[in-house]
């Protein structure tokens, strides 16, 4: 894909960290970048593609700046996942005046079906950054702390 098109198409990435894993959302708008960062978060735990959208959760967050808003947003989703046992496939985000309103679509965790690799403990300040890239796309990233399953040594 040509570079310009790639920048304009909302997408997500993971990036390496010694202890955990980084999530990054890249899109033309801030709200879309937050949506993509959230998909990246789901993708840390499981493949988001096969998930259904049988549940919808309304989420709102307030924060004094975009970095803290991204962290609050991701932590809110982690909370919803932990408490209501939901895995989210898709997100609709609106951001205005440092206030985020969103609907997260997904389904209840089925441990047999979803093959969950890890659980996420929380979003962190490490590598937390929201910035505009060349080509005027927005990028939001942070590191999420993971909980692993088990291993025998």
């Amino acid at each position: 894909m040509p570079l310009n098109n790639q920048l304009l198409t909302p997408h997500w990435e993971h990036f390496e960290h010694d202890a955990d894993i980084g999530i990054r959302g890249i899109a033309p708008t801030l709200a879309q970048a937050f949506e993509q960062a959230a998909v990246a978060m789901t993708a840390v735990m499981t493949n988001p593609e096969p998930l259904t959208e049988s549940n919808a959760v309304v989420i709102t967050c307030n924060a004094p700046d975009n970095e803290l808003l991204l962290m609050d947003w991701i932590n809110e989703l982690i909370y919803q996942t932990a408490v209501h046992r939901l895995l989210f496939k898709r997100y609709q985000v609106e951001i205005a005046d440092s206030k985020l309103s969103a609907i997260a679509f997904g389904e209840t965790v089925d441990r047999q079906k979803h093959q969950i690799a890890v659980e996420i403990k929380g979003a962190t300040f490490t590598e937390l950054h929201v910035y505009q890239q060349p080509g005027c796309t927005m990028c939001g990233r942070c590191l999420v702390e993971l909980i692993y399953g088990y291993q025998s040594i």
Binding site: V109, H114, E119, L143, I147, Y148, G149, Y150, S152
Partner: protein, 209 residues
């Protein structure tokens, strides 16, 4: 890491002299080869630790140092409260008490080795862990308060152990002066169905001695 960034004190002790906002030196313990293999992030993070208020003598990094959260993992520092010293969550460690427990099985290595995988699988089946797991213990407001206040003694009172267990746990499993009312309603909500699971911890390991 480039060893030329350091003042070598002896074979395994490397000093970064204070510059900029650093209040004290940073010291890394490693031999030359290990130091070269360490991530440059360790340098950034341990010199950042050296800038924290109230730090005493030096910021130290142990030979296992690697990139962490604020503090490098393997970082050590002491802070004097009378000099404005801070309490650093990164220094304490985010995984502290994350379900890591050592249990003496009474088995020797020859008995354990052929059954390691089966034992790990049995633990995995028996101990609820991960997203979507549910244990057999569900806390309401009152029992949550009892658990937070009573600690390991609360678990004993519920029949989940015996007195000898307390002798093996730091502070007998209940820190004096703790203030559980600071545990937020959301943290309580995440915890209430996770008691008795490995839901909030890292991993179980079976290690041969």
């Amino acid at each position: 890491m480039d060893t030329s960034q350091f003042n070598q004190r002896d074979e395994t002790c490397w000093e970064i002299r204070p510059t900029g906002a650093m209040r004290v030196p940073a010291i890394i313990y490693a031999d030359a080869q290990l130091l070269q293999e360490l991530d440059q992030k360790v340098y950034e993070q341990i010199t950042n630790v050296a800038t924290l208020p109230g730090i005493v003598e030096a910021a130290y990094a142990m030979p296992d140092a690697h990139w962490g959260y604020g503090f490098p993992i393997g970082g050590v520092a002491a802070f004097d409260p009378e000099q404005g010293g801070v309490v650093s969550a990164g220094g304490v460690g985010f995984d502290i008490s994350c379900g890591v427990r050592t249990l003496h099985t009474g088995l020797n290595i020859a008995e354990l080795r052929p059954r390691k995988q089966a034992l790990a699988d049995a633990l995995y089946r028996t101990v609820p862990a991960g997203v979507g797991s549910r244990g057999k213990i569900h806390l309401n407001h009152k029992s949550m308060q009892g658990m937070l206040t009573g600690g390991a003694q609360w678990a004993l009172d519920q029949g989940f152990g015996d007195e000898q267990d307390l002798e093996r746990i730091e502070e007998h499993g209940c820190m004096a002066g703790a203030e559980p009312h600071y545990v937020s309603p959301r943290a309580r909500e995440r915890q209430k169905d996770e008691m008795g699971t490995l839901g909030s911890v890292s991993l179980s390991e079976i290690k041969s001695p």
